[in-house]
Each structure stands twice: as structure tokens, then as C-alpha cells.
């Protein structure tokens, strides 16, 4: 089973310390494409949470059966099969939700964060811990993508919650800036996403540095980033 301490570490890692988007900097390809508004970011993250929890628990349960030498092909096989099965099941049984989340599920295939967590965590830990790791990595992604999407949308269009009508048909986006706001196209284009993500990473590093100073600890070790974006 899982201890309180373990749970707290896993949650802390996922939400802040090893946040997929602003610490590990993984899975940028879907992130940049999708976060033109907060709703899209949240929807992609929800789909990712489901996929990560399931692929982590599957790999963690099978981890003792998988020879070390061929673990990567087997992981890819498991993740790809699971994403496809989830896609099919959503389409068949939760069609309304599929119409909203559906376009994001295939995007997750291009998200290496799923494979990264399987390799880095689920291959070495029991199923329960691995499930929580998948969920909290997804939660970390959720708030980052929601924030990034909200900022891009506000700068680009002057609205918040654009696209909410896709999820709740009777809700409308809220115009926060005056109607005369000319819009700032750069924020909605991929370079804007890079620039804002850079600002968020800087902000996280600044927060970490401040916390480290306060605790009179050594500055945090730089996080290694994998060669996949």
C-alpha cells in the first residue's frame, strides 16, 4: 500500500517539482498546438490524465514480466494499444464526451510524457504508486496548460474561457478586455506559446530559488530534460 509520505512526494513531484511542462519540459508538441485557450488545455490534460493513469498501472503490473532489454518496445506497444482502446471505448460508450475530448486523445500519442513516466516511474514502482504518479503528473500538466492557455487567450483575444461552448453548449466565452481590444496575434501563434512558456519556467525557477534561499539550502539541481519535445 501507499504511505502518506510517499503520496505527498508523488503529488508534489507531479504538481510542482517535476511538473511536466515547466520542469521536465516534455510533450511540448501537443502543448503548443492546443493551448490557444484554457478550455482546450484542460481538455487535453484530462485526456492525458486518463491515459497516464492507465498506462502506468498497466506497466507497473507487468513490470516483472518485461525483460530489461526490450522494455522500450513493450512500453510503446502497451501505451499505443491503451490509447487506441481508450479512444474506441470513448467513441462507443461516451459519445457526447468523445465529441469534446476525442480530438485530443490521438494527440496524446505524440506526447512523450506518457512514455517518459512509464519508463522513469512505473517500470520501477508498484501499481498503486504508479497510478497516483500518472494522475498527479497529469494534474501538474492541467494547471500549467490551463494557465498558459488562459494567458494566450487573454493576450490574443481579450477573452477567457473561449471554447467553453464546446463543452457546455449554453455557456459563452467571457470578454474580459474591452471589445475594442485589437488582439495580439503573436500570443495565439506557436512562438507566443514558447515565449509565455519561457516566462512560466523563469517564474518557477525564481520561486524555487526563493524557496531554497529561505530554507538556506543549496539551489535546486538543474533538472535533466530528455531529448524529446
Amino acid at each position: 500500500m501507499i504511505t502518506r509520505e510517499e503520496f505527498r512526494t508523488i503529488a508534489g513531484n507531479g504538481i510542482w517539482k517535476q511538473n511536466t511542462s515547466i520542469a521536465q519540459i516534455l510533450g511540448l508538441c501537443p502543448l503548443l498546438a492546443v493551448t490557444t485557450n484554457a478550455v482546450n488545455g484542460i481538455m487535453l490534460s484530462l485526456a492525458t490524465i486518463i491515459v497516464m493513469a492507465l498506462s502506468n498501472v498497466a506497466v507497473a503490473s507487468l513490470r516483472n514480466l518485461i525483460p530489461h532489454e526490450i522494455r522500450i518496445p513493450v512500453f510503446i506497444l502497451i501505451v499505443a494499444a491503451l490509447v487506441t482502446v481508450i479512444d474506441l471505448l470513448f467513441n462507443a460508450n461516451l459519445h457526447e464526451l468523445y465529441l469534446v475530448l476525442g480530438i485530443f486523445i490521438p494527440l496524446i500519442v505524440t506526447n512523450c510524457i506518457v512514455l517518459a513516466r512509464v519508463e522513469a516511474f512505473a517500470a520501477k514502482n508498484p501499481p498503486l504508486q504508479s497510478t497516483f504518479d500518472g494522475v498527479f503528473m497529469g494534474v501538474g500538466m492541467l494547471w500549467t496548460l490551463a494557465l498558459l492557455g488562459a494567458m494566450r487567450e487573454l493576450l490574443g483575444n481579450g477573452t477567457v474561457l473561449g471554447g467553453i461552448d464546446m463543452v457546455f453548449p449554453n455557456m459563452q466565452p467571457i470578454q474580459l478586455l474591452p471589445e475594442s481590444y485589437p488582439g495580439f496575434l503573436l500570443a495565439l501563434l506557436p512562438p507566443g506559446a514558447f515565449i509565455l512558456l519561457g516566462c512560466m519556467i523563469a517564474w518557477k525557477n525564481w520561486m524555487d530559488a526563493k524557496a531554497a534561499e529561505r530554507a538556506r539550502l543549496k539551489p535546486p539541481a538543474p533538472v535533466a530534460s530528455a531529448g524529446c519535445h
Binding site: 518485461i66 525483460p67 530489461h68 506497444l77 502497451i78 494499444a81 474506441l88 462507443a92 459519445h95
Partner: protein
Amino acid sequence: MSAAKGFTASGMAVRTAAILFIFVIIFTGLLSGAYLWTKPAIEASAAEEKMKLVDEVLPRTEYDNDLLTDTVALQATPELGLADPSTVYRARKAGQPVALIVESVAPDGYAGKIRLIIALRANGEVGGVRVTQHKETPGLGDYIEVKKDKNKARPWITQFIGMSLAQVTDKEWKVRKDGGKIDYYAGATITPRAVTKAVLKAAHWAEANRDRLFAEGGAQ
């Protein structure tokens, strides 16, 4: 995880390959199982999706046949802007022709192609038009979509309902700016012009082909 002792190099290779093979079999099985199990439900919802579109251009009360199976395959039809084969749905009531439901593409939208679904009644009237796909400027040209149109009571695209070649001449079948009778919103003329033209072309096409299409293929 650990390599079992006592295996030779080739033995190890065979063992590893066998394990990988077993995983492939299991997960391929899982995939095919999921595919076969979900197939009927997915097909049903795809048909339901299609019917939803059809419902927008032609109310269900107006016909009594199973329109999704009463179809004619159409070769590439330049008159409808279709470069690929498509399907025409035939609506009938008590065996009598009611309307043809066709896809159409307006090739000259402001940002590329605009895909439409059009119901063309047997009496020559346009039953309804809906945009299924477009890339027109959000907030400017996208009012051709009912959902994006600010005029909820009478969305732009509903103007075509009831128009027919008998009542509206080709000269009038244009946006107001070009001397016709179709209203449009200031700021985007190219978009409504493209849609208007596509609907007119579809009406002409239906006029010429209606009888042949309703007679074709023995379905019903």
C-alpha cells in the same frame, strides 16, 4: 527483469524475442477485441451524427424512408464542386420523391473550401443549407455557421430556404452587393458570395439530374 543464468547468448535472444512476441499477440488481441466490440456502437453514433446534419436541412417528419440506406453513389461532380466521389441521400414519403440531400463544396471561400450539405426538394425549392466545414475568419466570415451567427432568430444561412430557380432568377441569386437579393453582413462579402454561388450551382444541378437520380438504383 534480470537475465536468467545458464542461458547462452542465442538462447537469450530467442527467449527475449518470444516474450516480445507474446506481448505483441496479447495487445494486438486486446486491440482487435476492443475494435470489434465497439464497432456497432461507433457506427451507430456515426449514423446518428449524419442524421443530425440531415435533420438540420430536412425535418424528419417530411419523409418516411430510411434515408441513410436509400442512396446513390455519385462520381466526382464539378457542378457541385466535388472532386471526389460522394453520396446522395434520397428522401421519400410513401414512395414519392421528397428531396435530395447532397454535399457540395464552395471552392472560392475567403480561406479555401467551404463544405455544405444542401437539401434540394423535388419541387425545385431549396430545403435547407448547412455549412459542415470551413476555415473562414472567426468573428467575420464564420456567420455562415448557424452556431456562430449572432442573429439567432433568423441565421444568415436560412435565407436560402424556399428559394427556387422558378422564383429567383440567376441574376437575383447573388449577394446584394452584386445586385442580388441575398443579405450579408458588412465586412465579409467573399464568404457569403461563395456559399450563394455554390447553392445556385447545386440548384441547377438538381434541376438537370433530379429525375434520373430518383429513378436510379432499385432501392425502394
